[in-house]
Symmetry: C2
């Protein structure tokens, strides 16, 4: 096998499957050596492209530490299936090769009984570390962190620190050594330095001389959004996690931060589409689970939208007198909805990345009022011409044009204010999803349209 | 000043402004020492909370290397303003303290004339590095990468390599040393190892013995989505960038990858809301620029939505005979739009994270047909009861119910297929934004509704 110079996509990984299955058949003993040069993420892609029945055989043919690496990169579903079908001893052997945070993550995806059995089969130290990590909520700094880190006391010299680091590195620490943390005699985090800085330090210096004391850390309870924000704001590759006494208890590494950012974004996009966020990837989620998560919002939106019927009943006689008005109903209410969803996505995202805060409400309002007027005027002008072309006559065309200006204005302002209001009330601004704003705006659009029609056409 | 134990939010940074301004007034010479313990990202927050007129004075009171760090964390707008108002020499002095990738990024935000002046005032080596980086598109691996990296030849021993690394670290390399890259005599990338592995290696070993040859790299032309995907898939903290000959020319560090992921996501959310992505944060973008980016899509959607009027004109006589049908128009078309936007956000996101691929089209279709039927049946049942309660009579109620089932089914399928189709045609699937799907679905919703009505009510 040649080294994976670029990431083989899943289709390419699938091409390797026949070779690997043949090898497994003919010379399983050579498998480890033949695949040694492949990145574990690539091997995981190969495993995912394999017939499910051969996965166990393949993984058992690899040495446990190698199998552990591959398993860390597997889909949750496939991983759980494999671990639930080998003996508890085999599972424990593989899991004990993982870093403590991955170990806890994997156990969380298994059935509780299986996870408990495997846990009790782990070596004592690994079991204790893992149990401690399992106590934290998965979406907090405590749940994301690993306990594998290198810390030295502030009183030691650069040479002593380097010797400790070398010893830790040789003892099989598996996480990259992103930073060396400096603690006082109580274990309190007082400084940090990179391995590079330690290596480059003049001989004879003390650790306290070269460490940085401007430490950025998060408490174990910080939620993953906060961890991601701090990591991104300070350009960190690992962020220390401290307990209530300021003692360092773990680090969250940037690969887990990226995973957290991607998951958080998936949830935001699903909320924007009015779907209660899924826990699993699209095909992995069960049909009925997805249906359940969709039907809730859809029914709420449907019930909200029923008020459009109520509004129209109130104007039934206006409609009867000028049936031509019906032709423009979908056009007018959708324009309000579209401009509303533009504003709500702009503001929801600006809140998420910190460009806008709740206290900016007035500035946002002024800006969106301006945009609403400009956009409403554009659509109103086009609508006026279109209505004339449909021979609707100048008065009906004027009703359409004026309604469009007002509806777009209302849509823009409601769409922009909704996420700010939700955030102010302590809800997730992404709940101001486009269709949600659209429903609210549809009703007001109808009321505006018929009110304008009654006034300008002298009906009602 | 106490060390920043946790990230001071902007409101907290604002509290420090009076103290810092007073210090600037009374003892500007002490400013550097007094703020020495603060993280540059925190100082940047303080600068952003300062009256704009004092920013220049404050930054000039800091030593150039410190000012450079703070400036790297500033908002683009504020940074450009500051750099355009100091002398070219001062700007060049500050910019030459930055890492090459940040230097190129900063110059790209300035007016071309200013950027050129500063560039020609940089020391020779810095100018050449920066000019080379400026040649790459900002959103590619070449545009994101820094040229500061440590590479050693594969023939050297561990001791020689460590000595080279120490020398590089002491010579003022500013990026963290994420990995040591191993090259052959032509500069071709052949291996990689972490600083930890080099430090932990047995004495006398050769670099070739301990390096990993399973190298993951990207070409300079790789776009930022690809860089982010590879970094996330392989859990990297830095990814090497190679030229057409496989020679390493730079690295993209994970902090820049996170920024790229966040920006890409912002664009996706804006596209989902039918806004052409903004280049700058919400308040930084000019009013007319935002209006321009909104009006385009809004007009396209408006013109698309005009077909609802065309459709309704075709059914004008049906409407005249059963005016009660108008009451349900907004309800029916919005249900199609809402279920469509659920499907399009689910599938767009699943495509973005790689859970679904274009070749899965049949599996997606089957699943969404199922969801459409289930969701349509729920809304149809509720709609039937509601129509009866409005005394619409059993036949009109049946028309409403059957139309809802069909409209939701069509919305769900169109919403799910649109992103797959767009991707297949080489467009961005996020263009299948919710309101875009909604417009397409509105027209078909009306046609379905009136066709069902004509058949069941015997009209037309």
């Amino acid at each position: 096998m040649t080294p994976a110079q670029h990431k083989p996509d899943r289709p390419i990984a699938a091409l390797l499957v026949p070779d690997i299955l043949a090898l497994l058949e003919e010379a399983p003993g050579d498998l480890a050596a033949e695949t040694e040069e492949m990145h574990p993420a690539d091997l995981a892609n190969v495993v995912e492209a394999m017939p499910p029945g051969r996965v166990g055989e393949f993984l058992r043919a690899l040495p446990p530490n190698r199998a552990a690496q591959v398993i860390e990169y597997l889909d949750d579903e496939l991983r759980a299936e494999f671990l639930e079908h080998v003996t508890t001893e085999q599972a424990a052997e593989i899991i004990s090769e993982m870093t403590p945070d991955d170990r806890a993550d994997v156990l969380e995806t298994l059935e509780e009984k299986t996870a408990d059995d495997i846990l009790s089969d782990l070596p004592d130290q690994a079991r204790q570390e893992t149990e401690r990590l399992l106590q934290f909520e998965p979406d907090t700094a405590g749940g994301l962190m690993t306990t594998e880190l290198v810390s030295v006391e502030q009183s030691v010299t650069v040479e002593e620190a380097l010797a400790q680091v070398r010893a830790a590195a040789r003892s099989g620490l598996r996480e990259s050594m992103h930073a060396i943390y400096v603690v006082d005699t109580d274990g309190k985090l007082v400084g940090v330095m990179s391995l590079r800085e330690l290596v480059a330090a003049p001989e004879g210096a003390s650790v306290a001389d070269i460490m940085h004391t401007e430490i950025v850390s998060v408490p174990t309870s910080a939620d993953r959004k906060e961890v991601a924000k701090v990591t991104s704001e300070y350009d960190l590759v690992a962020i220390p996690v401290v307990d209530g006494f300021g003692r360092i208890v773990g680090i969250v590494t940037v690969d887990d931060v990226i995973d957290a950012i991607v998951e958080e974004q998936t949830e935001d996009v699903q909320r924007l589409g009015a779907v209660q966020p899924l826990d699993d990837p699209y095909f992995v989620s069960s049909f009925w689970d997805v249906a359940r998560r969709r039907v809730g919002w859809l029914v709420i939106l449907f019930v909200g939208e029923m008020f459009t019927g109520t509004a129209m009943r109130a104007y039934e006689d206006t409609l009867a007198k000028a049936l031509v008005l019906t032709l423009f109903i979908p056009l007018i209410i959708s324009s309000g909805g579209n401009s509303g969803s533009q504003s709500s996505s702009l503001i929801t995202r600006a809140l998420a990345v910190g460009d806008v805060e709740v206290k900016d409400v007035l500035r946002v309002l002024m800006r969106e009022l301006g945009h609403g007027l400009v956009l409403g005027a554009c659509l109103g002008a086009i609508g006026f011409v279109r209505a004339l072309m449909w021979h609707s006559g100048p008065s009906v065309s004027a009703v359409v044009a004026l309604s469009l200006v007002l509806v777009v204005l209302v849509g823009t302002v409601v769409g922009a204010m909704m996420p700010l209001l939700l955030k102010r009330l302590g809800f997730d601004p992404a709940l101001a999803s486009s269709p949600f704003v659209a429903s609210a705006v549809d009703v007001s659009g109808l009321v505006i349209y018929f009110t304008v029609a009654r006034q300008l056409l002298g009906l009602g």
